[in-house]
């Protein structure tokens, strides 16, 4: 069999989603952002929503999400993506509207917009990249930074006396009456990636069914901020992040009428 004979549509087992363009990503090697981008693109394509989706990108490392996935995008001010998405969805209820936000963006400066958009039950999806640090600005403390974790602004480790406690926004979101589906996933292994993709798809579908807000947290790595190799970062995440941010569904009202 020649190479040409093998490269046939019927033999295709995996391909890059068409929506994901060839622009080289600016993310550091090992960063979770790129993987989640791919999942988002795949899900939109599988749902056939390529011409009916608006993404809202944050201020944070994912600010340039709009460069990589060929859908309509709006870049929001730091933390304000849920407000932007609220208007887009209210004014165009038949479109798929999602935000893509880091922990600083979504769980710190944008806490107000996040809680109120979710609590109003806006039919939007928030994809929440929790890497326990401010990646874009050079590794400062985030609301989600773990106790004892070292960052540029807590170089001796997060000390509750000085910095307070890490914030579990996803747990908060699950208590809000407006949310329909709240889940915490990760993308550090093939199995986890498949689960995360299912969660994103479910959230997107629920928003189109008008079931309310969904929040998909992705516990993520920030190799540069954590100053760890991709492999070590995954290991650190498993040992430190997962115990504090346990994976799985926190709320699932998808079958409720």
């Amino acid at each position: 069999m020649t190479r040409e004979e093998i490269i046939q549509p019927e033999n295709l087992v995996y391909k890059k989603p068409t929506l994901l363009n060839d622009e080289p990503m600016h993310y550091c090697p090992g960063c979770s952002h790129g993987v989640v981008h791919k999942l988002v693109a795949e899900v939109i394509e599988e749902m056939g929503m390529e011409e009916k989706t608006i993404g809202v990108s944050p201020v944070g490392c994912a600010v340039f999400a709009y460069k990589y996935i060929d859908i309509d995008w709006q870049e929001a001010a730091h933390g304000r993506a849920p407000a932007v998405a609220t208007a887009l969805k209210r004014l165009m209820p038949d479109r798929l509207v999602f935000t893509y936000q880091g922990d600083g963006d979504m769980a710190c400066i944008g806490t107000g917009e996040t809680i109120h958009a979710l609590n109003r039950g806006e039919n939007i999806v928030i994809i929440f990249i929790n890497n326990a640090i401010y990646g874009m600005t050079g590794g400062q403390m985030a609301p989600t930074t773990l106790i004892g974790q070292k960052t540029a602004t807590c170089p001796y480790g997060r000390d509750v006396k000085l910095h307070g406690y890490p914030l579990k926004m996803t747990e908060i979101a699950a208590t809000l009456a407006g949310t329909c589906y709240v889940t915490r996933q990760t993308v550090y292994s093939v199995g986890a990636i498949n689960k995360a993709k299912k969660a994103i798809k479910k959230a997107f579908q629920l928003s189109m069914e008008g079931k309310g807000s969904s929040l998909v947290e992705i516990v993520s790595t920030c190799n540069s901020g954590w100053k760890l190799t991709p492999e070590k970062a995954n290991q650190w995440m498993e040992e430190n992040m997962f115990p504090f941010y346990p994976l799985g569904d926190l709320k699932d009202n998808s079958t409720k009428e």
Binding site: I54, F64, Y66, W73, Q74, A77, T86, V97, H116
Partner: protein, 363 residues
């Protein structure tokens, strides 16, 4: 011609009714005195059941302006309203809307500051509205209504200018105009634009999530990390502002023919000035009024021309002297320009204006 329906209402109510009639797609706001009637009137009118217009009480002015940013990016006719402290909170979002070159309408029914200040009327946000307000080099188109009728009329005008120039437009009213009841003829009903009409008008840039004619996805962003590119963006904005200064200046000149003195005033200060001018005329003092309708772009040229024929100019404002700086810049060299204003929400009487004119200009 069909008889026009005259109704009696507050300026704030006129804004709400006019917006529904102009085919507004959405309003996003947060209560604050003296403008809460805008949201209250909209909530009472329930336009979502008639025209399909969306009305959202946001969790803050921060959220309101970012909802407006979202709606405007989708080519929708959206607006917000607030009063001074709330408008301060919106400045980051306003800067983004200006940078994104998006058509949005923002209503500021000014109250006295600084800080929480007073709920009484003021005009002390002139600098904030006309000189930037938020960060970066940008301008809003700023309309200053002086009557409830103009509150109603400037809604359509504001959106027309905003869409024509892809630039946020602010209606800068003072608390008097917002709260005062007057006769008004509301604009005729215009249907909301269909998706197809929006695509035809805004398809080259709007984030509607649809297939666009140019066959590419639309992205609204204000980020550009390459300085050379960011300079080009700024140059494009500046070219637009210079063009607006040439083409969109609006003003009202009253009694200026043969006047020995000139008063400049906007909003309700201009109405008090008019009364003062009538009273002064009885004393044989000939005073004209130049009322800027667009505070930005500012009517510099006409003020310059008028200044050549008068002995002095008094800028009457409900603030400590803001517009007077632009009047001074406009006036011909050597023409005295003074300011008269009351602060803290106090409205000067026509007599006080005449007295100030005599003391500061006529001498």
């Amino acid at each position: 011609m069909a008889e026009q329906e005259v109704t009696l209402m507050k300026g704030n109510e006129a804004i709400a009714h006019a917006a529904i009639r102009c085919g507004a797609d959405g309003y996003f706001g947060y209560p604050i005195t003296p403008q809460s009637e805008v949201l209250e009137t909209l909530a009472e009118q329930k336009p979502w059941e008639t025209t399909g217009m969306m009305v959202v009480q946001a969790e803050s002015e921060l959220a309101s302006i970012n909802m407006v940013y979202g709606g405007a990016a989708a080519g929708k006719k959206v607006f917000t309203s607030s009063s001074s402290p709330g408008i301060s909170l919106m400045q980051e979002g306003i800067s983004y809307i200006a940078a994104g070159e998006l058509p949005a309408l923002i209503v500021n029914v000014m109250r006295g500051g600084p800080g929480l200040g007073t709920i009484q009327p003021s005009q002390s946000d002139y600098f904030q509205a006309c000189k930037g307000g938020g960060h970066g080099d940008y301008h809003l188109i700023v309309l200053a209504p002086a009557s409830v009728q103009e509150m109603a009329d400037f809604v359509d005008l504001g959106w027309t200018l905003a869409f024509k120039h892809k630039n946020p437009c602010m209606i800068l009213a003072d608390g008097v105009i917002g709260q005062m009841m007057e006769k008004v003829v509301l604009p005729p009903f215009k249907p909301r634009r269909t998706d197809e009409e929006i695509e035809a008008e805004c398809g080259s840039w709007a984030t509607t999530g649809r297939k666009h004619k140019h066959n590419k996805n639309n992205i609204v962003t204000t980020l550009e990390l390459r300085s050379e590119e960011m300079e080009v963006v700024n140059q494009r904005l500046q070219a637009k502002y210079r063009m607006l200064e040439e083409t969109e200046v609006r003003y009202e000149a009253y009694n200026c023919e043969g006047a020995d003195y000139l008063i400049t005033a906007f909003g309700s200060a201009a109405r008090i000035a008019k009364k003062a001018i009538e009273v002064a005329a009885q004393e044989g003092i000939k005073v004209g009024l130049l009322r800027p309708i667009t505070l930005w772009p500012f009517p510099t040229k006409i003020i310059h021309e008028l200044s050549k024929n008068v002995k002095g100019i008094l800028s009457v404002e409900f603030n400590a002297g803001q517009m007077v700086e632009d009047v001074r810049m406009a006036a011909a060299p050597g023409v005295p320009v003074e300011h008269f204003g009351r602060l803290g929400g106090i409205i000067p009487s026509p007599d006080e204006v005449i007295e100030a004119l005599k003391k500061k200009i006529i001498k």
